[in-house]
């Protein structure tokens, strides 16, 4: 096992990784920008190294600085967390070339899944159901028209290099196609420096369901069930739950097996997530995230596994300690993402935290790097805490979530807690009857 791991991230996920390392007896190296000198992960780590100024490009995205920090601290492995360089194949390759272990999949797999068109083709070949669409990039409006007519409207035009909802446009009818096509290309060009787009069937009321995969370096692959992440606003997940209230046991087992088989076929290693749209009993692969997800705790709660520990074990070459049949899911878990944002306008609200009091007691987990007096810097993501609640069934989980939200105190900042409080009393949510567009409607389409 590793003696020392460098954590190439910040915020709650840096703390999450630090905790897993501590619990495995592994020493931790925190890296940080000058804006994060007082951050929780910096305070708790065995060593901390300032690698640059606040700008992410010069600190958390600065591969050279991170590798220098790994060198001077004699770290053996680097955990990239999520965001920043976690899905950057070149970074993963540099890490390996410099003799460190990258705690994640191989650079080749990151690269493969990083290009959405290649990912889709690969997924299809590996047996995953995909949304009907263009076989590859669509170069002209004429070609787009032919394909759209073939798969049937509405269609979605998506940037090949896309992510986070940018470079995406819907055409409801043939009349909308031209403007959607042109806007998507333009936004793709602006956002990713690459105007290439492709076309897919647009689903009207899909749910976002993703399957967690874990694979070791010896060809063993398991799935850890699904997460329902349909509650999104502007393609940002807001609340996630496991298991999905929409799936039955047979569907769950089937999609899990399909996802694990596909991961096995492509020789995938470490943790990964296959994201699907789900509508009318059908799954459609959309993309694979080759990293730890923000919402991984809900899977941990129902499977009893520590996913960060598993990532580290697998990266160190250890075989999985269990087979698919050993994995038992029990109970229900929900994660609320708490952002430093106005709960109505969603304007980010960085600043100094006054009182901070996390809820406690049975079945309540808080993953947060906040503390009273901490200043949330304006340079990074606005997610400041994750509240994860477990119950033996969904109803118990909802009731517990409600009381935990009542106890949560974060003063000095505006947060999305009030919106979560409204959400947990909504009949649609209580009944599990929501799709990917429900939350946007609920918050007034903002």
């Amino acid at each position: 096992m590793f003696e020392k791991i460098l954590i190439a991230n910040r915020g709650e996920i840096a703390l999450r990784i630090h905790r897993a390392c501590r619990e495995m007896g592994i020493r931790t190296v925190a890296i940080h920008s000058t804006a994060d000198a007082d951050a929780m992960h910096v305070r708790l780590a065995d060593e901390a190294i300032c690698i640059g100024p606040p700008s992410p490009a010069k600190s958390y995205l600065n591969a050279h600085a991170i590798l220098s920090a790994a060198t001077i601290s004699n770290a053996e492995a680097i955990h990239p967390g999520y965001g920043f360089l976690s899905e950057n194949a070149d970074f993963a390759q540099m890490v390996e070339e410099h003799g460190f272990v990258f705690i994640g999949p191989s650079p080749d797999h990151i690269r493969l899944m990083g290009d959405k068109i290649v990912a889709r083709t690969t997924a299809k070949e590996a047996g995953l159901p995909v949304v009907p669409g263009s076989p590859g990039a669509v170069e002209s409006l004429a070609e787009a028209g032919t394909i759209a007519a073939d798969i049937g409207y509405p269609v979605l035009i998506k940037a090949s290099a896309g992510g986070g909802g940018r470079g995406m446009r819907v055409a409801d009818t043939a009349a909308d196609l031209q403007s959607a096509f042109e806007q998507a290309r333009k936004e793709a060009e602006n956002s990713f420096g690459n105007p290439e787009v492709y076309i897919e069937k647009y689903l009207r009321t899909p749910r976002h369901i993703e399957v967690q995969i874990l694979a070791d370096a010896h060809g063993n692959v398991v799935h850890l069930g699904e997460r329902d992440c349909s509650l999104q606003r502007r393609h940002q997940k807001f609340l996630e739950e496991a298991p999905s209230p929409a799936l039955n046991e047979a569907e769950r087992t089937k999609i899990g097996r399909i996802a694990a088989d596909a991961a096995r076929k492509i020789g995938y290693r470490n943790l990964g997530t296959m994201e699907f749209l789900y509508e009318n009993g059908e799954f459609y692969f959309i993309e694979m995230n080759t990293r730890l997800q923000v919402e991984h705790p809900v899977t941990e709660m129902i499977s009893g596994l520590d996913l960060v520990r598993e990532m580290i074990r697998v990266a160190a070459g250890a075989p999985l300690g269990f087979a698919q049949e050993d994995i038992r899911f029990s109970g229900h878990a929900i994660e609320c993402r708490i952002n430093a944002e106005n709960p109505v306008t969603f304007m980010p609200c960085p600043g100094r935290v006054g009182d901070y009091h996390a809820p406690g007691g049975l079945g309540v987990r808080v993953d947060s790097a906040l503390y009273a007096g901490y200043t949330v810097p304006p340079y990074y993501d606005s997610m400041i805490a994750k509240l994860i609640v477990y119950g033996t069934n969904r109803n118990e989980c909802l009731m517990r979530l409600r009381r935990a939200l009542e106890e949560f105190v974060i003063d000095g900042l505006e947060t999305t807690i009030p919106l979560h409080q409204r959400l947990v009393t909504e009949p649609d949510f209580i009944n599990g009857e929501y799709d990917n567009r429900w939350l946007e409607r609920f918050v007034g389409g903002q």
Binding site: I49, C50, S68, V353, A372, G373
Partner: protein
Amino acid sequence: MPREGSKPQIDSALVHQLAQLLEETGLTEIEYGTQEWHLRVAKGGLAPATFAAIAGPSAPAPAIAPVENDPAKHPGAVLSPMVGVAYIRPEPDAVPFIQVGDEVRVGQTLVLIEAMKVFNPIKCARAGKVTRILVANGAPVEYGEPLLIVE
């Protein structure tokens, strides 16, 4: 969580400002506080001013760092522009680039920082005299860490 002491420090300007207000208003005493700090000034036949340092809700972090003793805050400090390993000599057996007391000119190499197997010369941006060298040869340095002081 390791914690440094919040070393009490007196902001003289603040005291002066209140003293002047005392003059202007004809008061004999002003006491002023926030959650973070508290200051009282008095005049005339009163008890001498007490500066009740209020620890306040102060988070785990020290609210105010000791400014004078931190070389990084020194106006003549040369800070490391990157994380890496500092070298004060061009080769293991060579003489150091600089020594305390040297007069340095703009553009002169002061230190090398090795990062990603590349040696980056840190050049002098302002002429002056080297008054302190703060890193040892071969020592790892962080971004923003003071390397030496040129006055």
